[in-house]
């Protein structure tokens, strides 16, 4: 399946786009998604451990499953307020 990962702030600047298209096969979790993102965009590597993944506007855990119609976003440490 093909997933569009929304990118924000430093992640968007590093990738140079506000989405990253990732192709995944088989059962996919947040962990395998992060690995695929780093393979596509190696400059995300030093930061990927700090990024949280949101699935359908909720923070996901490492083993949250990602489905084809999930809305996925990469959330770097937040600094609002």
């Amino acid at each position: 399946m093909i997933i569009q990962v929304k990118l924000f702030a430093v992640a968007r600047d590093l990738v140079g786009a506000d989405q990253l298209q990732v192709e995944l096969s088989g059962t996919c979790t947040v962990e395998t998604l992060k690995e695929a993102m780093v393979q596509l965009q190696p400059n995300l590597a030093p930061m990927i451990d700090f990024m949280r993944i949101a699935v359908d506007s909720q923070f996901a855990t490492a083993d949250t499953q990602i489905l084809a119609d999930s809305e996925i976003a990469c959330i770097p440490p937040v600094s609002g307020g």
Partner: protein, 143 residues
């Protein structure tokens, strides 16, 4: 009530949105743009959000605060876009029958906002560089 806005935050309107004869206490918090951070000078800020999720998270924070404290009225507004010095990036207003609850709830909401609401600040430093602020993570200044 939670809101994201590109417009300046109107303090009087925020206050009016929570004051009523039901409450005895109102705590209004404003986060404002500070010129100096550890000696470095800020010229302006830009805030960006993942808006759908930010609104959901703010609504969840309001709901959880209402479970924890006897809140009559709650308004949380976050500004997005370009902010000059001294402008408010966030307003949190809580009205409760007794003041201790309003203080506690406003502090708790602010602590949570800084952890779980997908909004990001970019410093536009006076030296011409810009820098996304990602607490705990090194982000070098960019030209």
């Amino acid at each position: 009530m939670v809101e994201l806005t590109e417009l300046p935050i109107n303090v009087q309107a925020v206050s009016d949105s929570v004051v009523s004869g039901d409450s005895g206490a109102v705590v209004l918090f404003l986060g404002t743009t500070r010129e100096f951070t550890r000696g470095r000078q800020t010229e302006s800020l830009d805030y960006e959000a993942y808006p759908e999720m930010a609104l959901k998270q703010l609504q969840q924070l309001e709901a959880e605060a209402r479970e924890r404290w006897p809140i009559d009225q709650c308004t949380i507004i976050h500004r997005l876009g370009h902010l000059e010095l001294a402008e408010a990036s966030i307003a949190v207003a809580i009205a409760t029958p007794h003041r201790v609850d309003a203080f506690e709830a406003a502090q708790w909401i602010m602590d949570e906002v800084k952890q779980v609401v997908p909004i990001w600040k970019k410093e536009n430093w006076a030296d011409g560089t810009t820098q996304w602020v990602h607490p705990g993570m090194d982000t070098p200044p960019q030209k």
